[in-house]
Point group: C2
Chain length 212, copies 2
């Protein structure tokens, strides 16, 4: 595995991407090391020269992905914005950027929690839980509750707003399926997105508190 780390960046990336994609699409059991080496353009032997087993490769990917997530996504979020919708908007921007930078990492992490109570090393499980905890904190900490209408339960408003925004993002992702995210001009989609955000503010915030 130290052999792998010594490789030059581009070769590492090629192998990582091939493996992440394979695991993300097929899960651990159904993922094929043969397909990985073919996609990565290396001989079968090399994979097991770098990683002594399929499992070790998988664990390495898990750790790598979580680190990527923290470095390239979480750390770039400004958690000081007190306006809930504005904060989510900013998170969405960072997320899209990180996602087009490396889509397969996100897909892979998505499957990590599906592998229910998986036999990942405890250290990685810990890392995962911490990430979830930090993510939650970044969503709700320091939010200005006075922006919200007085006649709705704020907790529920949080959820409704999140579901709405997730809904938009999923639909968009579905609409853009197949296209290379990095090659897309997101300008019009952001406009559309902001349109929805305005409605959410009109709907869930007090009158007169809509503008910032």
């Amino acid at each position: 595995m130290d052999k792998f780390i010594a490789l030059d960046e581009t070769k590492q990336q090629k192998i990582l991407n091939a493996a992440l994609k394979e695991f993300a699409e097929n899960g651990y059991e159904q993922a094929s090391t043969n397909r990985i080496v073919k996609e990565a353009g290396i001989g079968k032997g090399m994979l097991f020269y770098y990683f002594k087993s399929k499992k070790e490769l998988y664990d390495y990917l898990a750790e790598y992905s979580l680190d990527f997530m923290v470095k390239r996504y979480f750390n770039l979020i400004d958690a000081s914005e007190p306006d809930f919708i504005e904060r989510l908007k900013q998170i969405a921007e960072v997320k899209i950027k990180a996602q087009s930078e490396n889509r397969s990492v996100f897909d892979f992490i998505g499957t990590l929690l599906l592998a229910k109570e998986s036999d990942l090393p405890v250290s990685i499980q810990k890392k995962y839980e911490n990430m979830q905890k930090a993510g939650n904190a970044m969503l709700y900490e320091g939010i200005d509750l006075t922006l919200f209408r007085d006649d709705v339960d704020v907790e529920k408003a949080f959820k409704l707003i999140r579901w709405s925004m997730d809904g938009y993002q999923n639909e968009l992702l579905h609409r853009l399926e197949g296209q290379k995210l990095a090659a897309i001009d997101f300008e019009p989609y952001w406009k559309e997105f902001y349109g929805y955000l305005d409605i959410l503010k009109k709907s869930f915030y007090k009158e007169g508190k809509r503008e910032r």
Copy 2:
């Protein structure tokens, strides 16, 4: 296949459920006829006595599921309710009932569209498209637009409301994972759900139009 139809209901159900579950969980290629017969409690030979190939079984399931969907779900929806949120609420009730009646059918249909441009018989593809069209009509036809606030685009409000309700339902399904749907007392969840609906009405409808 006519041999299969001649079977008594309960045996048919056992085989159907086993097959639906297997295909839903693993997709067409990865689904195993061996696991299906084991789960269904029949000998391997019988499956190919009833259906002459894996493909014929799959096509039969597709047709069966679509018919189930129409008969046990679509046809029970009252599309005359002009209040959008009330209509969605009613749809949700029917859906939950149909889903607990036969969960695997829903899961299987969910994978049908993932099998992109699959090589299903045209007749079944047609049936599927018709179902989607009818579903859309039932959502939006005859809705009373005057209920909505004047300062938001109704089309966008539609989407926001749907995303919100889908979000709740997904979260709930996720929360209840593993439990047998039919055995759950949904009372408290409906209450919670209605709570969200009230907020949606407060937020997206004109003042004074909230009650019915």
